[in-house]
Symmetry: C2
Subunit: 351 residues, 2 copies
């Protein structure tokens, strides 16, 4: 077992007691299984999280190769103890585990897609120990600029929460998922209508680590909010030539003594996020919409979402709500809708 | 002497004869000394190139460290034989050799800049063997998006040729220099008025080698013009969300079977160059100008300039002339204007 594959319990200090306390109540195991990490949640029948486990055994980082039982090993290491305590627990999983490089491919469902479409697209795979994993499919938006998501669809349904059954279910919502490949999804009546992918996080890393821009950068002790904001404003007000042009200013502002080496990383981050939002604004404008006054939700790393909130305010959007626990809420919701945890629904489905 | 620093003669098969033939006529040594290469030209008094030498001894690739005489060694290896044949030849150099990391720093001159400003900014450095190098400065455009060039200013003056003394010297010209850091300069009355830098070439390499986009790419046997054109058109017609968004389609068109692995490199290249030209078009629009109908000149690698010609045609610009030998013509011109090779001018300058 490699260190990379070692699971760690988020509640290890309570592990023994918690295991006893929840052993009678556990009702679902839910997995957020991505490229570089695997997070597992143990739910009770009311949808409360009883325990969590986190591992670095993402699908590209399994404890042993996939064709040598790597997926089984990662699953056993992470969830074996829960299943020993409560045999027969249903298991649901979302994320890259359902990609062509995953345990089994769960083909994309087409956008617009609601939770029912996700449920209908679930693909099952049996583990070596005879447990059935229910893998949630990703969503594909066709066209000459196709888009795909895998894992985010589940987070989005988690962020929607009970909205879809509320009176205002017809309301449009804009949901942002900042990250390596940032997603922006337009949701209406419980359906993912359309979405965009911005490679902002990965481009930032590539620029910083593999271009001339990184050579003059020094990582500051703490994020420089002013440099970040400056980058956002340049992208918003002076970004006409596009990001391929503006990024060079990270270097030239340094050459001309207007930006220190420590300020350059946050300035570049602000530039890229600013260009992402300017691009999103341009797309919204085509639909007679805009970021200004928009009430939207953000899902993801809190510090990164806070950067987006600051940047969004520069585009007139001051109502950006950070949604926490969207991943586990989404997994619970899809599992419920699939009848994995709701006895009534299960009976209906069997009949 | 490392292999990297070994000079090679472009005319080695004629070397002995040529050396004798031109020894009486040689009038100037001109160096195009960049980060990864050093090119040397031997001129006669009429501005004809008698001989050339090329070496990989760019300033970041010297035969030995700079503080151990690396610049002297590279210069001797490349030009020593010429100076032995014709002692006392004047020497001019342009490019990164004049940067802060170069042999000696030739501080930038401010844009707008004409050839006189470049001449006034020449900085001299003496080699170990007592030869004086005249280093041409780069050009700086100040502002909240500063821009710098070093080497390109000399190429631009080479591309202008005799235009500046012609009757239409007041005419505006747009000059493009595709490459790692593509430059677009607006020139009027023999002056570089303003310019932009697009990091297109370096971003392409970083995306291809260090992001998920490269993982599905296979280098084709020959460039795929159709895939390239498709990328250009997507950037032009569907590029509103910006390059951070459109580049993801290189992957998703692959995932959906619409773009083969071999087509993806040229498609991504077309996307980036298309976004560069769309950005340039947006900047021109602010000046009540456009690419359509523009008569412009391109300087640089022929195959790359041909890609730009194809892409420019998609923006209505069908008059893009490839200027050859701009580098050596520019070096000759600045040297002439500096009085290094023109006896009359030298006399005037001394008086």
């Amino acid at each position: 077992m490699t260190q990379a594959g070692s699971p760690t319990s988020a509640s290890s200090q309570f592990a023994a007691g918690a295991a006893e306390a929840h052993s009678a109540q556990a009702a679902l195991i839910a997995l957020d299984w991505g490229t570089t990490s695997l997070r597992a949640y143990l739910f009770d029948a009311d949808g409360q999280v009883l325990d969590t486990r986190a591992s670095t055994a993402g699908i590209m980082n399994l404890p042993r190769p996939a064709d040598q039982g790597g997926f089984d090993a990662a699953f056993e290491e992470t969830c074996g103890a829960w299943l020993n305590d409560t045999p027969g627990l249903p298991v649901i999983a979302a994320g890259m585990v359902g990609s062509a490089q995953g345990w089994i491919e769960a083909p994309y469902v087409d956008a617009p897609a609601n939770a029912d479409a996700l449920v209908a697209g679930i693909v099952r795979v049996d583990t070596a120990s005879g447990v059935t994993l229910h893998i949630v499919p990703g969503v594909l938006q066709r066209g000459d600029l196709p888009n795909v998501m895998r894992g985010e669809e589940t987070q989005i349904f988690g962020a929607l929460g009970e909205d879809v059954t509320a009176a205002d279910s017809g309301k449009r919502a804009l949901i942002g998922l900042p990250g390596t490949h940032a997603k922006w999804a337009a949701v209406q009546a419980g359906r993912i209508e359309r979405f965009h992918t911005f490679m902002t996080g990965e481009v930032f890393a590539a620029l910083r680590e593999h271009t001339i821009l990184g050579r003059t950068m020094i990582t500051p002790d703490r994020p420089d909010g002013e440099a970040f904001l400056r980058g956002v404003k340049i992208a918003r007000d002076r970004g006409q030539a596009g990001v391929l042009a503006t990024i060079f200013s990270s270097r030239t502002l340094g050459l001309t003594g207007q930006l220190t080496r420590e300020q350059q990383p946050d300035y570049l981050s602000g530039l890229l996020i600013g260009h992402e939002l300017a691009g999103l604004e341009a797309v919204l404008a085509q639909q007679q919409n805009s970021l200004a006054g928009q009430s939207l939700r953000l899902i993801g790393n809190e510090a990164l979402c806070e950067r987006y909130r600051v940047a969004l305010a520069q585009f007139g959007c001051t109502q950006a709500e950070l949604v926490k626990h969207a991943t586990e809420r989404g997994l619970w919701r899809v599992a419920s809708q699939a009848g994995l945890v709701n006895p009534a629904a299960q009976a209906a489905r069997a009949g």
